[in-house]
């Protein structure tokens, strides 16, 4: 059962949000994903997420203006991304 780790940085000044979310992502167990609550879209974070192997979606937040849902990209790896079985 996967579980959400919630991180609310809507009251924090830069660069705290970035530091905290990267720290959280590093300590993430294989069965966890992140709901990242922010005042605005953390655009500089997105390329880093891609590089770290995470996928994400942005939604209008309930508890904060923006929520970024971040999960391991392996969770939605499609068959077309498979390695060649012959290697």
């Amino acid at each position: 059962m996967v579980r959400a780790r919630i991180l609310d940085v809507s009251g924090l000044e830069p660069p705290q949000p970035m530091i905290l979310v990267l720290e959280l992502l590093r300590s993430l167990a294989p069965d966890e994903y992140v709901v990242f609550r922010h005042r605005h879209e953390p655009r500089p974070l997105y390329p880093i997420l891609g590089e770290l192997g995470f996928a994400w979606r942005v939604r209008e937040g309930r508890a904060a203006p923006i929520e970024v849902v971040i999960w391991p990209a392996a969770w939605d790896r499609g068959p077309e991304d498979q390695q060649d079985p012959r290697g």
Binding site: D31, W75, Q83, P85
Partner: protein, 435 residues
């Protein structure tokens, strides 16, 4: 039981586990040949060099070979992340394990310290390389259900087995060191068979049996408790000779083994899928062997001089070894292999064909790689081989017949798996042509 999140898409290429699966039965055939060549002397005593050599052909060449191949497959799935560089490491691990096993086994049979030393080198290389990668993945802290906890104990038991085995092999390879290696034999065997193999089987079975045979889940207490109890018992037995420690340790290990075997039989009896299935037969055979074995193991450890024992004392360890190694461990692995190879062939082909949906109807089904009939015959041959080898433990005159049965058993397996692999290659080629 709460299964772990499984990232089933993180599959390594088929060739990674396949090379292990195709080599393993050849070692089984070699074990049979050793028994045929050496004949009656194999079962003369538990210390007979041919017996120890043949045993290691089975434990290293068959069990460790298949289990390491399967772990390359299973660990990424269980832990949600791939084994680093799995594809690159598989070939050297496989080579080192193959050469190491050949060296050690031949060195033991021929009583050649130099060959034992060579074998030791190869095996240490294989286990350090693979064990390092595995431990990094499996022992990493993460929340996990009963399965992952049990598998962690299995890996710890593997370390203990390899460490003790290396210590003993060093004693044989360099006699001048004066290592009292025989004293560690029981601990080495217990950690290897009841620790590594049994614990791994306990962990894996609670995941795969409910899923693929549509059974109720394992009772939660069994799923969580058996692994810890077995491991605790083994530690107690290995670290203390005190009477109380032996009684508690042996009782813990034996009762948890019994509880797991009975629970698995009960779970299987309630399976919704009633169709004939060779893997179910293999599970049932292994459970019954374990139910028969646990009390014998307990008796040998706790009351070795039981006057009413139906087995002469010098035969007790022999019988126990045959039951655990051939009757339980080899059976479980053989049964799962009948499913794993067709399963992986099928899954890899399905993935490939998704790029080209028109090809899906042309793909073989799992049964086309190893049919239920073939797999059922395999388990029947294996049951015969077990029976003959048990007979040989009592009556060495049967030894050559047992050796021949082992050869047939593993040769049949080798032929069927090779045919499955060749069929897979043909289909991959024909799908590629269509693209």
């Amino acid at each position: 039981m709460k299964p772990l999140p499984l990232a089933l898409d993180d599959l390594p290429p088929f060739r990674v586990p396949l090379r292990f699966f195709l080599t393993a039965p050849l070692f089984g055939v070699l074990a049979g040949i050793v028994v045929i060549v050496e004949g009656e002397t194999v079962f003369a005593s538990r210390w007979s060099p041919a017996l120890i050599g043949a045993t290691h052909l089975l434990t290293l060449g068959w069990l460790a070979m298949v289990m390491i191949g399967a772990l390359f497959q299973v660990v990424p799935v269980l832990s949600g992340r791939g084994i680093p560089a799995a594809a690159r490491v598989a070939a050297p691990v496989h080579l080192a394990l193959t050469l190491g096993t050949l060296g050690l086994a031949y060195g033991l049979v021929a009583s050649s310290p130099n060959l034992v030393a060579l074998g030791l080198g190869g095996l240490l290389a294989a286990f350090l390389l693979f064990g390092g990668l595995l431990a990094w993945r499996v022992l990493r802290p993460s929340r996990g259900g009963g399965a992952l906890v049990t598998i962690r104990f299995a890996v710890l038991a593997l370390f203990a087995t390899v460490a003790l085995g290396a210590w003993m092999a060093a004693g044989i390879a360099w006699p001048s060191l004066g290592i009292p290696y025989r004293a560690s034999t029981d601990s080495h065997a217990r950690f290897g068979l009841f620790g590594w193999v049994l614990l791994l089987v306990m962990g894996v079975s609670q995941q795969v049996v409910p899923m693929f045979h549509v059974t109720p889940p394992f009772p939660a207490a069994i799923a969580r408790g058996c692994g810890v109890t077995v491991f605790g018992g083994l530690i107690l037995l290995a670290t203390s000779d005190a009477r109380l420690a032996v009684v508690i340790g042996a009782s813990a290990t034996a009762s948890a083994s019994l509880a797991w075997a009975i629970a698995l039989l009960a779970v299987l009896a309630k399976r919704k899928r009633r169709r004939t299935d060779a893997t179910v037969r293999a599970w049932q055979l292994a459970c019954w062997v374990l139910i028969g074995t646990a009390p014998i193991a307990w008796q040998i450890a706790v009351v070795p001089d039981l006057p009413i024992s139906f087995v002469a004392r010098h035969q007790q360890a022999l019988l126990l070894g045959v039951l655990v190694v051939l009757g339980f461990c080899v059976t479980v692995v053989l049964g799962m292999l009948q499913k794993i190879v067709p399963f992986l062939a099928f899954t890899h082909l399905q993935r490939r064909a998704l790029k080209n949906p028109a090809a899906i109807p042309l793909l073989p089904a799992m049964e086309d790689f190893v049919s239920t009939r073939t797999a059922t015959i395999q388990i029947a041959i294996h049951a015969t081989a077990i029976a003959l080898t048990i007979a040989a433990a009592f009556e060495p005159a049967v030894a050559r017949a047992a050796g021949a049965a082992l050869c047939v058993d593993f040769a049949f397996c080798a032929v069927n798996l090779t045919r499955a692999a060749l069929r897979y290659r043909r289909v991959v080629a024909s799908v590629a042509e269509r693209e």
